[in-house]
Structures are given as C-alpha cells and as structure tokens.
C-alpha cells in the first residue's frame, strides 16, 4: 500500500506553510540547541564534581548541589521545552494545513521565555534555588514561564479549529494534549507547593510534576512526532489507527496518577505510592502497544533507517520510550523500587526520559523540519552520523552505568551494618561513566549546534536530494531509493 503522491498545488501549499513557520520555529530550535550545549556541559561538570568531591573546594558556583539543578533546569526548560514548542508549531501548521499566524508575537514571547530560563538557571547557580527538583527557581519566575508558554501555544487552538481535514489526526490530538496539560500540571505544582501549608504533599506534588512532565508533555510531543514522521518516511499508513487512538486515551487517563511511587515508604498514606505504581504498570501497556504499532508500520522497510536521519533518531527515541516505560513500571514495584529509589537509578531514569527518548525523537523531527523551512539541505551527512552515534554512545553509557551503578549503590545502602561511605566508594566508578557520557553528548551536540547554526544563517547545501546519513550528497533523491526500496 502506498500513499498518493502530492499534486503541484499541494506542494505549493506546503511550501507556503513552511515559509510561514520559518522564523518562529528556527528561533526556538537554535536557542534550544544553544541551551542544550550549555546543559550538557553543566551535566559534565556536575558529574565530575560528584566523582571528585574535593575538586574546586571553596568555589560556591561549582558545587554539585548547584550545578546539578542548573543542569536539569537548562536541559528541561531551555532545551527540551523550547525544541518541543518549535516542533509543535510546525507540526500543527502542517497537519491542519494552515499558515502560522502571529509569528512576530511568538518570537517576542519566545524571547521572554528565554529570559525566564536564563533567570531560572542563574538564580539556581547563584544560590537562590529552593531545593525542589525541576522547580528550583525562585517563586516569582513561574508566572512568567506559565504566561509565555500559554501565549505561544494558544495560537494552535484556532489552527486546530480551522483545520482543512475533518478527521482528527492522532498527532494533532497529542499536540493539543501536550498544549493544555502542561499549564495545568505546572500551575497545580507551583500553586500548591508555594502555598506551603502541607509540606509533605509539596514534596509529593513535585515528584508528581516530574513524572507528569514526562508522560503528559514529553511523551505526547514525541509521539506526535513519531506518528507523523514514521508513516511519512515509510510511505505507508499507521499499522493500526484505532490502536493509536486507544493508547492516546490510555495515557490521558493514567498519566495523572503517576509520581508518588518515587517515595515508596515515605510519609504518605500507603495508597498513594501504590496507586502511582499501578498507574506506571498500566502505562507500560499503552507505551508498548504504541511502540509495537509504530514498529509494525515500519515492517519491511526498516532498511530506510540506515539512511534517513529523521527516521533513525525517531525510531531510536521510540525504543528508548519503551525502555523507559518498562524500567518505570519495574521500579514502581516494591521488589525493585525499595532498593533503587534513592540511588543513581533515579538519575539514570530521568536522563533516559529527558535525553534518551525525548531529545532523540525531537532531533529526528528537527532533521526533518529544518531543511523544509529553510529551503536548504543539511551541510553534512557525516556530521549527522557523528551526532547520532556520539549521542547514542553517550546516552547508553549513561543509562547503563547509572542503572547498574544504582543497583550497586542501592544494594550497598540495603546492608544496614556496613559503613555508609561504602555505598559512595563502590558507586563512584559508575559516576565516571556518567561524566564520560556527558562529555560524549556535549561533543555530539556541539556538532548539532554547528550544523543548525549553518542552516540558520542560510549556509545550507543547495541541492535536489536530501542529506542522507550514508549516501554522498546528491547521490540519491530519497532514503527509500538509497535503501533500494522504491
């Protein structure tokens, strides 16, 4: 089964939609990529400091307690959310076949967002943090973040309502979901935590916010990308559309219950971590069904991922989503969770979500979108290949060392009559892996930022054919042709 080829009118329409999104989307992509490089460097230095606690003693700006939250804030609000917003804007315009309006407003608000993230990272770095993971910033920053996010995504609602196809694509549902869920969880978390009348619930709500950010914002945006790019590049419809809708609603009903299982045995009513753990296990079903659905869509033409950068990053990201859901479900049972919950495992899991599945999928989208909106091809397939492999080596090193290191550290912590510092000494070798991983990822993202900057200033390759990972420039018109499938 093949998809009908577009007519010249449709091609012209797409080109005008792409032109309308060019400046806002490129603004978000390039500033996000710059934040990503900063975040990965902060990740490297924080891991180094954790391995060598005596390093830079006396310098308050280089303590783990400040570098690590600064790294997390830059990674999530600087990189992930901005890149995700750029992808949402372009996808919404293309799917609804509407030109993006209010581009100037979006760019102006985008600058406000960047200013807010800068204040966030600097305030944590300069000692005004509040020690609440992912919500470390001083309390006056959250309204700026909430308002600027709303002013960017609100324009998608008229686009969705005036869409040209009467059917609703599943990608559109995921984007609308991500657009409305984030303000809800962000406002809930900030208002309740800042009220401060129930300190223990404040800590629980923060854990709830972190997993909800992953399942209610990152997963929907990444799945919107995957449900768009995988069928598009494979040139065939989604294997099962009803299943795609079903998994959307499963996620919608389940994700809000997760989070409290990060504190099993903590000072909460026992049913709360229990319910969260059960929700994480049911979500595994939804995610596995989604990943299977996407992989079956690719069945028979999986060779394309050797050539197409977008497909390769997206497919890798989706496999990592499956891995994340599996480990999240496992660690929400007492059997595994009680030893793992305060170990390096938690860092491995959060990084797997932020970088392993979300960022890798978004890279796939960026490699797809940028040539279309700038009208030029990526300068070098070899650099894309390096970006993929160094990122993959990096994230796999990080995930494996943190997960195994977490098991080692958690195992040591569980031996109550052993010296406490044994758990630190025995796990410090794994922290070396974490530092090496961030160094690799920093290098790969330096390449990414360099390429993206070339595209931004219009120094892309002018050519008929897209840049493929292996083919020489201009050698094949499509990944399908390069893979010998057309």
């Amino acid at each position: 089964m093949t998809v009908p080829q577009p007519t010249p009118e449709e091609m012209a329409e797409r080109a005008s939609i792409d032109r309308s999104t060019r400046y806002p989307v490129m603004f978000f992509f390039t500033s996000a990529a710059a934040w990503l490089l900063a975040a990965t460097l902060l990740g490297f230095f924080s891991s180094l400091k954790l391995r060598l606690p005596g390093l830079w003693d006396g310098c308050e700006f280089l303590t783990y307690g400040r570098l690590f939250p600064a790294h997390m804030s830059a990674l999530v609000y600087g990189w992930a959310m901005q890149a995700g917003i750029g992808v949402m804007l372009w996808l919404m315009a293309r799917l609804t076949r509407n030109e993006l309006k209010h581009g100037v407003t979006i760019i102006v608000v985008g600058h406000v967002w960047n200013a807010a993230v800068t204040l966030m990272v600097l305030s944590v770095w300069f000692g005004f943090g509040r020690g609440i993971p992912l919500l470390d910033f001083p309390r006056w920053i959250w309204p700026i973040v909430a308002i600027s996010y709303s002013l960017i995504v609100v324009w998608m609602i008229p686009m969705f309502r005036s869409r040209r196809n009467s059917a609703v694509y599943v990608s559109e549902m995921f984007i609308i979901g991500a657009a409305v869920w984030f303000p809800w969880i962000f406002l809930t978390a900030n208002i309740f935590i800042n009220k401060g009348t129930a300190p223990v619930m404040g800590a629980g709500i923060d854990a709830w916010y972190i997993t909800n950010l992953i399942y209610f914002w990152m997963a929907p945006v990444a799945l919107a990308v995957a449900y768009y790019i995988i069928p598009k590049i494979a040139g065939r419809p989604i294997y099962s559309y009803p299943l795609a809708h079903l998994t959307f609603w499963l996620l919608a009903f389940l994700a809000g219950w997760t989070g409290f299982s990060r504190f099993m045995g903590g000072p909460f009513p026992a049913w709360m971590p229990g319910v969260s753990g059960a929700a994480a296990i049911f979500i595994l079903l939804a995610i596995l069904a989604t990943v299977t659905n996407l992989m079956l869509t690719l069945k028979g033409c999986s060779k394309i991922w050797e050539y197409s950068p977008s497909l390769r990053f997206t497919v890798f990201g989706m496999l990592m989503l499956g891995l994340y859901a599996l480990l999240a479900a496992m660690s929400s049972t007492f059997y595994f969770g009680k030893d793992l919950q305060f170990s390096h495992f938690i860092v491995g899991m959060d990084t797997l979500a932020f970088y392993g599945f979300f960022s890798m999928t978004i890279f796939g989208a960026i490699y797809f979108i940028v040539p279309r909106i700038t009208g030029a091809e990526w300068p070098s397939g070899a650099r894309i290949r390096s970006h993929f492999w160094w990122s993959t080596y990096g994230i796999m090193t990080l995930v494996v060392t943190m997960l195994v290191g977490g098991i080692a550290q958690g195992g040591n912590l569980a031996v109550w009559d052993q010296e406490f510092s044994t758990s630190f000494v025995n796990s410090s070798a794994y922290v070396v892996g974490r530092a090496v991983a961030w160094a690799l990822i920093s290098y790969s993202n330096f390449l990414f930022l360099y390429q993206l900057a070339l595209m931004f200033i219009g120094k892309g390759r002018k050519s008929e054919g897209p840049t493929l990972i292996h083919a020489k420039p201009g050698a094949a018109a499509s990944a399908k042709a390069a893979a010998g499938l057309s």
Binding site: G58, W181, T197, V200, G256, G265, V275, K338, W416, S428
Partner: protein
C-alpha cells in the same frame, strides 16, 4: 461541526485529568493543610513536659529558618534525604542513629507532621550522603557540625562530601577557619533536625 470536535477533545482530556487531580492532589493536599498539633493522651509518658506532637519547642525561628533556606539553595536535597522508611521499604531504621534515639526506644520512621516547620518537605532526590532526618541527635555540638561542613574528610576519609569552604573565612589570628553567618545558620538548622518525638496514640 469541527469546533465540536475540539470541545469534545478538550472535555475528554479534562475529564481524564480531573480524576487524578482531585483525588491524588487536591483532596490529600487540603486534608493535610495546616495540620494542628495532636495532644498526648492522659497517662502517655513524655519527658520534658511536652504536651503535643509536634511540639512548639521544636519550632524554629530566625537563624535556623535562614539555615533551612541555605539548605535548599545549596541543593543539599540532591544528595541527602530526610526520610526514614518503614522496614518493609528499606533498612533505614536499622542504621545506627538514623531513626532517632534508639537507646531510649524512640527510633521510628518519619511521619507527615515531622515536616511541619518546612515549606516543602526536603525528602530528597538521591541518597549519596547520609540521611539527615535525625542528624541533630547524631552530631550534637556546633564544633563537630562545623567540622562536618568545612573538612568532612578529616572525620571519614571515604566521605563523598565536599568541603563547603565558601562558608568559612581564614582566621585573622593564624591557622583555622572562622564561620560566616551563613555557616552558623546552616548549623542551627542541621542541629534542629530531630524527627523522633513520640507520636501520640489516637483515640
């Protein structure tokens, strides 16, 4: 017609999210808000004339509350937890001193009201360093607490704790360090961390 689809989608999303939002967040938060101290029943033996849990003598003021902010700003929660789990979830209670004064039979797991003095309970993110729920019982003098902050390796060569030298100034009278007000406040806060007050029986 099309706008109907949008409203239906939003309605469905709102309905799906409303359940966890109400039952997991709103109701438990309201129920736990502004919890009143629980008085001890008649005949319950509590030393020092303490009449209710949590007791008002534990309430922090001034310096130690400033110390709480420093604890948060320095990101202590990223390495130190303040939660003692029941034995079904981990052997925290078995570690010497973690659960409180076990010699007096007062060691216990942490309870929600133990965190009444915090803005957000610093339950922690990772456990790279020791749990600090009852550190005020384990390290009892200011001098020793300052040493833990300024030169932890002298107490345990395997310690992973960095020396927080930016809280200390060189002594103008030769060798040694002088704590800054920040260090004093942080020590006040750490010395106040005691989470083993007996919990009253509920009628």
């Amino acid at each position: 017609m099309k706008s109907d689809t949008f409203l239906k989608l939003i309605g469905g999303l709102a309905l799906a999210f409303l359940f966890p939002w109400v039952f997991l967040i709103l109701i438990p938060f309201v129920a736990a808000s502004n919890a009143e101290p629980i008085p001890y029943l008649e005949g319950e033996e509590v030393e020092g004339g303490v009449t209710a849990y949590p007791d008002s003598v534990f309430y922090r003021h001034g310096s130690s509350d400033y110390g709480r902010q420093i604890y948060a700003a320095e990101g202590c929660v990223y390495c130190h937890t303040q939660v003692i789990r029941p034995t079904y979830a981990g052997p925290d209670m078995w570690r010497p001193g973690w659960g409180g004064r076990e010699a007096d039979g007062l060691a216990r797991e942490t309870q929600p009201l133990d965190y009444t003095l915090e803005e957000v309970a610093p339950l922690g993110y990772q456990r790279i360093g020791q749990d600090l729920s009852n550190v005020g019982h384990r390290i009892t003098t200011r001098e020793l607490m300052h040493r833990h902050l300024s030169d932890p390796k002298s107490l345990d060569p395997d310690s992973g704790m960095p020396a927080y030298l930016h809280f200390y100034k060189k002594s103008p009278y030769g060798e040694g360090l002088v704590p800054t007000p920040k260090a004093e406040a942080l020590v006040d806060y750490l010395l106040s961390l005691k989470k083993d007050q007996p919990v009253p029986a509920v009628k």
